[in-house]
């Protein structure tokens, strides 16, 4: 396996322009003959499918939900970044680029991130033209707000439903092309394997989630826009259906997996309650614009928040990071929350102190701006919080705690977003490229749409214009073999007939990953986790019970397949975390920290992307390194103080 990043030469601001001028184009008449398979219909998948169809390609799009509109991008709340400088506060493409590189703790590619920053402004234009109802100022101009890790105001938003509105925009563009027959949409259809013929991605094997039929779809290129793998932790802010299956199967067919241990724990989620908790709910980071985070100074302080006087409160982020304060980046805000709770100063619903929560208090902002303004900014978030906890944030500070939320790691891709398998692309959260070791708030929506609207539609042409692809039909031996393997695996899951439900296995794996490969990690814990994952995985395959039949709508079976893949993937994640003997961004190795408890990077030894090659389940993956070269930015220890 060889990692060829295909980074364009020349000065940073010219790379993308130059690359676009150089890549090959596909003749319009030939586009009609090319079929592109897009898996996933979130921001990246829907925008890519719509844009590719518009260019003239024949597109097939797949999603496991009942409608493409339900992809998990819909749940993103806070906003989308763009270097528009509408606030005249000194923003620029370079500044957005720099913030993103620094926020990612210098573990992403300069060229990719600069391109993202450059494109960001066009995304806002595109979405506005589609009718996305972004928030406006009284003069009718677009409004902005601030997000963590940043000192300018560049985030565009649609109340607390920015992801929903951007996704509906992309869904509507996609629907237009479905309506005129340019895109064939396959909802309730799950990709279960990748068909590789002569080293090129040529199709996917899918299972219909309505009747269980297994079939193969062939094409000229495959685009995976299947999101992230936070559900390896069981409890996360991801939707219940989110999974690693598509990218994991692609990995098993030759796509390198990059930086799997870079997982983001979001600082502001509603704390878990009770043992039946099925998922966690995020409270938008935008609340940190106006909210102040604190815990009592004293351990075990059980007084209700309003009885704790000002001088007995510890606004720890403001204290530790005076220049960024409550807007410190996510990894830092999460770690510090864990720290104060580990000290016994956490707050919880049960009172008595020592809980797993910290206060996010909007009292001062309410006093300063008035209830009406706060309700207008955060009304739906307050309502969601109240519905879940039974407490009104107007009366009592919100309680928050970190939760798994986003995964920076993903399939390794080159500058064209192509994986190490020719003709296989990964876009959006499914790839690794832009966020390094930590993603800044409001950047996921930006990246998903940049990949889907503005990058992939150009770069995929470069491959299609040059690749000599022989016609392929369902009778090809490789197609048949892959399809047979999928059916065999489905049958095997149903045949185990053990005693334990899929859910109990998933919960146990999730707990293990959260404890040993979550917010902070150490070598002994990671080794132990790998050991236990193997034991648990064997137990899964010998003792799981999956009810129902294969040829039916069978949700337990769907879940079983996903959990089986999480078991294989989890081991790689721990392996990656163990090998990276440094702390960077969200990857905090306890052995590597400064005396103040900040992450201590080791650029000398780990200034690279770790791309892993699959060698078999239970076999150690092979490491390939893509060195990160910084031509423009100066590598520095991140400081938000």
């Amino acid at each position: 396996m060889e990692l060829r990043a295909r980074l364009p030469s020349g000065p940073l601001p010219e790379k993308w322009q130059r690359h676009r001028a150089e890549i090959k184009l596909v003749n319009p008449a030939n586009k009609l003959k090319r079929r592109i398979i897009v898996v996933g219909s979130g921001l990246a998948g829907a925008s890519a499918a719509a844009s590719l169809a518009e260019l003239g390609y024949a597109v097939s799009c797949f999603c496991f939900q009942d409608s493409p509109r339900r992809a998990h991008s819909i749940a993103a709340q806070g906003g989308i970044n763009a270097a528009k400088n509408y606030q005249n506060d000194g923003d620029s493409a370079f500044r957005l680029f720099y913030d993103t590189i620094k926020g990612g703790d210098f573990r992403s590619r300069e060229a990719n991130v600069y391109r993202l920053a450059e494109i960001s402004a066009s995304i806002i234009d595109q979405c506005t033209a589609q009718g996305v109802p972004f928030a406006r100022e009284y003069g009718g101009q677009l409004a902005n707000r601030s997000f963590g890790g940043v000192q300018v105001s560049r985030t565009f938003y649609a109340r607390g439903q920015t992801g929903q509105q951007l996704l509906l925009g992309a869904y509507q563009a996609l629907s237009r092309h479905i309506g005129i027959g340019k895109v064939k949409m396959y909802p309730r259809t799950e990709m279960l394997d990748l068909v590789v013929v002569d080293g090129r991605a040529r199709g996917i094997v899918v299972r219909s989630l309505v009747d269980g039929a297994v079939s193969t779809h062939v094409g000229d290129a495959v685009v995976l826009a299947t999101g992230g793998y936070s559900n390896v932790y069981y409890l996360s802010t991801n939707a219940k259906g989110c999974n690693v299956t598509a990218i994991w199967r692609a990995h098993k067919r030759g796509a390198a997996f990059a930086n799997p241990c870079f997982t983001q724990i979001h600082p502001t989620c509603i704390p878990a309650t009770g043992q039946h908790q099925s998922k966690l709910t995020l409270m938008s980071e935008s609340l940190r614009n106006d909210g102040r985070i604190w815990v009592p100074k004293r351990k075990g302080d059980a007084r209700p928040p309003h009885e704790i006087p000002e001088d007995e409160r510890d606004y720890y982020l403001e204290r530790l990071y005076p220049s960024y304060g409550n807007l410190a980046p996510r990894d830092i805000a999460s770690r510090r929350a864990k720290e104060v709770c580990d000290e016994g100063r956490g707050v919880g619903s049960g009172g008595g102190g020592g809980g797993h929560g910290v206060y996010l208090d909007l009292r001062d902002a309410i006093a300063r701006l008035g209830r009406r303004v706060i309700a207008e900014r955060y009304g739906n978030l307050f309502e969601m919080y109240e519905r879940i906890t039974g407490e009104s944030p107007f009366q009592r500070p919100m309680r928050i705690y970190p939760a798994p939320h986003y995964t920076m790691g993903g399939l390794w891709v080159d500058y064209n977003l192509m994986t190490t398998v020719d003709g296989l692309y990964a876009i959006g959260e499914a790839n690794f490229s832009d966020h390094g070791a930590n993603r800044l708030g409001a950047s996921a929506l930006m990246q998903g749409l940049a990949d889907g609207y503005f990058i992939l539609p150009y770069t995929i042409g470069d491959y299609l214009a040059q690749a000599k692809l022989a016609p392929l039909d369902a009778a090809h031996p490789e197609v048949r073999r892959t399809e047979a393997e999928v059916s065999e695996r489905v049958a095997r899951l149903l045949a185990v007939g053990g005693r334990r439900s899929v859910d109990t296995f998933h919960r146990e794996l999730g707990r293990l990953m959260w404890d040993k490969c979550g917010m902070s990690r150490n070598a002994a814990g990671l080794r132990e986790a790998m050991q236990r994952i193997r034991v648990l995985r064997d137990e899964f395959w010998s003792d799981v019970y999956v009810a129902g039949k294969g040829a039916d709508l069978n949700q337990a079976l769907e879940h079983a397949g996903r959990v089986a893949d999480f078991f294989e993937f989890a081991e790689l994640m721990c392996h990656d975390a163990l090998h990276r003997e440094e702390s960077c961004g969200c990857h905090f190795r306890e052995e590597h920290q400064t005396p103040e408890g900040e992450a201590k990077r080791d650029d000398e030894r780990f200034g690279y992307v770790a791309a892993w090659e699959f060698r078999g389940v239970g076999e150690p993956a092979v490491l390939h390194k893509e060195p990160l070269e910084f031509e423009t930015v100066h590598l520095a220890q991140r400081s938000y103080k």
């Binding site: 939900q65 009942d66 409608s67 509109r69 339900r70 998990h72 819909i74 528009k84 509408y86 066009s122 806002i124 595109q126 979405c127 506005t128 033209a129 589609q130 009718g131 109802p133 972004f134 406006r136 100022e137 009284y138 003069g139 009718g140 677009l142 649609a158 109340r159 439903q161 929903q164 509105q165 509906l168 869904y171 509507q172 563009a173 629907s175 237009r176 479905i178 309506g179 949409m185 309505v210 939707a239 219940k240 309650t273 009770g274 039946h276 908790q277 099925s278 709910t281 995020l282 969601m384 503005f454 539609p457 439900s501 019970y545 009810a547 039916d552 709508l553 069978n554 949700q555 337990a556």
Partner: protein, 239 residues
């Protein structure tokens, strides 16, 4: 807490369905209804019975996948079941693809990727943007259809027609959009609106039936002004 549930079980689209009684002995007040079903399903699995199929995904009220009718109300008594007026695929899982086809018929603004003007070139009055957002908040769950005695999809369609029709960017296709979407809605077999207002009560996003009035006005204008040109594909009138 002990709860008794009567759950609709149906093995497939053509199978006969019936209610089955289940007892959940260990329910707790901090469970969501979906978690209650999770717990029940774990009990069923332990007894080697087939778990109940139900749609769900985000579990925070935004994706619109869930929406079963509970005690006669879509999403339950606390505002918004199976959205029982859609065809059942299995148990509590229904087929709502008609909604997608209605959007495909015109619920969009046609804009080529990369050809959009500078976002601030067109100012949108804040009240218009806010009103558009009120309509755009629809999650496509289908509660409005389930709640309506006529199984009308008017609230769903009106929300999209209003969202796009309130914005300057939506004006060129305003006429064709409403006509095509209404035509598709009729073709899907949804009933007519007779102003019961149940939809608004059931809507988890509290979308107002004022938007239905807007749809009717837009529809009338479009067919009166451009009786022939509003059919799909030719751009239509500008309302």
């Amino acid at each position: 807490m002990r709860l008794t549930l009567h759950v609709w079980r149906q093995a497939g689209p053509r199978a006969a369905g019936h209610f089955v009684r289940y007892d959940v002995a260990d329910a707790t007040p901090d469970m969501s209804f979906l978690e209650l079903l999770d717990v029940l399903n774990q009990q069923l699995i332990a007894r080697r019975e087939e778990p109940i199929a139900f749609d769900h995904d985000c579990r925070e009220g935004i994706c619109g996948a869930c929406g079963m009718v509970i005690n006669g109300r879509p999403h339950g008594p606390r505002r918004a079941t199976t959205t029982c007026q859609f065809p059942v695929l299995k148990d509590l899982v229904v087929d709502r693809s008609a909604f997608d086809r209605v959007i495909q018929a015109g619920g969009f603004i046609s804009v080529r990727t990369g050809s959009a003007p500078e976002a601030n070139a067109v100012a949108v009055p804040k009240p218009d943007a806010e009103r558009a957002m009120d309509a755009a908040a629809c999650i496509g769950c289908g509660a409005c259809v389930a709640a309506c005695p006529n199984a009308s999809a008017m609230l769903f369609v009106a929300a999209k027609v209003s969202h796009l029709g309130l914005l300057p960017q939506g004006q060129p296709e305003r006429g064709s959009r409403v006509v095509n979407m209404v035509a598709q809605m009729d073709a899907e077999g949804f009933g007519a609106c007779t102003n019961h207002g149940e939809c608004m009560t059931a809507c988890p996003k509290e979308i107002s039936i004022d938007f239905i009035a807007r749809l009717n006005r837009d529809y009338l204008k479009a067919v009166v002004r451009h009786p022939l040109s509003v059919v799909r594909g030719d751009g239509g009138g500008n309302g």
